[in-house]
């Protein structure tokens, strides 16, 4: 575990709460998906929560965040309301997007969550565009985009790295390198194992870190974001992590070996932080209180979300256009 450095025991305990909220949130997604309450095919970030929590700890709601198909954790860590986020994932009218978006398209403008795309790598240029706007409007916000190692196969990622370095944009590229894309390993996608290598041609600053160590993520994300806020341009942070869940809820995961599953708990960022906090002298009781507090908070929000109403079918045609009517259109 990374030397805690400056961070206090209570802040670490705070990070633990953040990790637990995401874990519990997605446990509920999984549970309700099994009973058919969750439409679509949600992708869980279980095992990867430390990246979301460690990075977003440094962001204000003015900073812009873009994520992808595995984005629940990022949205919660950015400060979105647990109930409204869950309500969206189960398609309720009280959801962040009034049930129009769903798990892969979470948007919460008020908290700077400008979007999630289901098209791998499609979020990268959007995030660069948000950074360009910040630069053009002269405000001090930055843009952060989360993506997976599989996104490096997509050309637009490389186009975006080039433009971000050329225009010196205030953007943080956060790669969650879990070594897998759907059912195939990194080796089947590229000879390049470290994603940070793709930033090298641009001389873009990068760091490859242990993404399951929330303290490491917190510290190095802080450094990266600091340099971006100082106007030093884009930064790529590669977080080596591990997808404890299947690719999506329902994935049979035949590709996983017994030993792999056995080794999982060792890697679990929550278990690691707990062990560390104990070693640092935090009382077991305080740790349990944090875990239990997060669990309660999420369960209550989930129940409220489930009690909320469903979108009225008659409203299905709302929000297509802002400035024209649908009159002239067949349908």
């Amino acid at each position: 575990m990374k030397d805690p450095g400056s961070i206090s025991l209570s802040s670490m305990n705070g990070l633990l709460g953040g990790l637990c909220r995401i874990r519990q949130f997605e446990l509920q997604v999984q549970r309700l998906a099994a009973s058919g309450e969750v439409p679509g095919f949600p992708h869980l970030s279980t095992g990867q929560e430390a990246v979301a929590v460690g990075v977003c700890a440094h962001l204000t709601s003015e900073d812009k965040l873009f994520t992808g198909h595995r984005g629940h954790g990022h949205v919660l860590a950015k400060g979105s309301d647990i109930e409204a986020t869950f309500a969206e994932i189960i398609g309720r009218d009280t959801g962040l997007c009034r049930g129009r978006g769903g798990s892969m398209h979470l948007v919460d403008a008020e908290h700077g969550v400008l979007g999630a795309t289901g098209v791998v790598a499609g979020n990268l240029p959007l995030a660069a565009g948000a950074a360009w706007a910040a630069q053009a409007l002269g405000d001090s916000n930055i843009s952060v985009v989360f993506f997976g190692d599989g996104a490096t196969g997509a050309g637009v990622l490389h186009e975006t790295l080039n433009l971000a370095s050329l225009w010196k944009l205030p953007i943080l590229f956060v790669c969650e390198n879990n070594g897998v894309a759907e059912f195939t390993t990194r080796e089947e996608h590229s000879n390049v194992s470290k994603v940070s290598a793709f930033a090298a041609p641009y001389a873009m600053p990068t760091r490859t870190i242990d993404g399951n160590d929330v303290l490491a993520v917190h510290e190095f994300a802080g450094d990266a974001i600091g340099s971006i806020r100082r106007g030093e341009g884009p930064y790529l942070l590669e977080c080596m992590t591990y997808r404890m869940a299947g690719h999506f809820v329902g994935d049979a995961q035949q590709y996983r070996t017994k030993d792999e599953i056995a080794a999982m708990r060792e890697k679990d960022p929550i278990e690691r932080l707990k062990r560390h906090l104990l070693a640092q002298g935090l009382a077991q009781g305080e740790i349990d209180a944090t875990v239990e507090g997060a669990r309660r908070q999420v369960l209550d929000a989930v129940e409220r979300a489930r009690a909320a109403g469903r979108p009225a079918p008659s409203t299905v045609g709302e929000y297509v256009y802002k400035s024209v009517s649908l009159d002239g259109i067949s349908g």
Binding site: G99, G155, E188
Partner: protein, 325 residues
């Protein structure tokens, strides 16, 4: 015993791989079985060099399939969702479709792009589209959209044997549909539609998953004495106007149903052609049933409210025949 669309499609691929060494499959996770399991086991049987995983590089793998087709292979490329075919479009439209023409007939591109389309179960706005209309506007392409497992079996085999690039569209709702595999299936010709149900009062034209819905609607209408002829287009480009004309000349009424949004959809082309070529045959305006001009929403209630179904077809048919209620 019956098999699913996926199993029967897999069998077609298996047989084509065995029949012709030039056939190669490529796409994301296809050697691992593919996102929907269509290619499960084929890499083990035919080798990882003939059933090949790719990175998430839709543009490049479409270009590679095209380049390989120029050089003696018969690639069958899987694009996981038609929504991502947007990333293949430069190559498909500017290269694959035009190669034969631009080269003055020197080269052609015998490749099949299998893709999966349509809305179901909350896949939401970026994994639910029906974009076939774009492709019928591109000279040089062939577009096929099967309506059942056995149709897909024959049409996929025929597509793999074509000398031109074929877009082969599989509707996600069809994947669980089951049919009995007969001893022999004769391969349907590309470019020929099929009369799925014979009738006299109205010609109902559909394709892909909408054919099942159309047949259900025809059944319901039959109960109130309305005899509907259902045409399964099978191939959207080129379009089989002969079969359509024969039917409309008999029924004098045409109704077109598809899941895609109406505006600029395939139904527009069909309606325009019936309206101009069969003007004197028509006793009523050609009518279209399709999706309102809205992206596919996530919530089930909204998705259901948006997608055209049996009732929409029945209502439109009754209006067309002036027999409301």
């Amino acid at each position: 015993m019956s098999q699913t669309f996926i199993e029967i499609l897999r069998r077609a691929l298996d047989e084509e791989l065995a029949r012709d060494r030039a056939v190669h499959l490529l796409g994301e996770d296809v050697a691992a079985g593919g996102a929907f399991g269509v290619t499960r086991g084929l890499a083990q049987k035919h080798g990882e060099t003939r059933v090949r995983n790719t990175p998430i590089s839709e543009a490049a793998i479409t270009g590679m399939a095209t380049g390989a087709a120029l050089c003696g292979l018969r690639p069958v490329l899987e694009i996981m969702f038609i929504d991502f075919a947007t990333l293949s479009l430069d190559c498909l439209v500017n290269q694959s479709a035009k190669y034969r023409y631009m080269s003055g007939g020197q080269l052609s591109v015998p490749m099949v792009v299998r893709t999966q389309a349509g809305a179901a179960g909350g896949a939401a706005a970026q994994h639910s589209q029906s974009l076939e209309a774009w492709f019928i506007h591109v000279p040089g392409l062939i577009v096929v959209a099967p309506s059942s497992p056995l149709e897909a079996y024959g049409l996929l085999k025929s597509a793999i044997r074509m000398e031109d690039p074929v877009l082969f569209i599989e509707h996600k709702r069809l994947y669980t549909m089951r049919e009995e595999m007969p001893a022999t299936v004769e391969l349907p010709p590309i470019g020929r539609a099929r009369v799925a149900r014979v009738g006299d009062d109205l010609t109902l034209i559909a394709y892909s998953a909408m054919v099942t819905t159309a047949l259900e609607a025809a059944e319901e209408l039959a109960r109130s004495g309305i005899s509907v002829e259902v045409i399964d287009l099978r191939t959207l480009l080129p379009l089989d106007m002969r079969t359509i004309a024969t039917s409309v000349s008999k029924t004098h009424r045409a109704l077109i149903a598809h899941e895609a949004v109406l505006n600029g959809g395939v139904g527009a082309e069909i309606a325009a052609r019936i309206g101009s070529e069969l003007f004197d045959e028509l006793d009523a305006p050609v009518t279209r049933v399709g999706c309102p001009f809205v992206p596919i929403p996530f919530a089930p209630e909204l998705e259901r409210a948006l997608l055209p179904g049996r009732e929409n077809i029945v209502r439109a048919a009754r209006e067309l025949l002036g027999t409301q209620g």
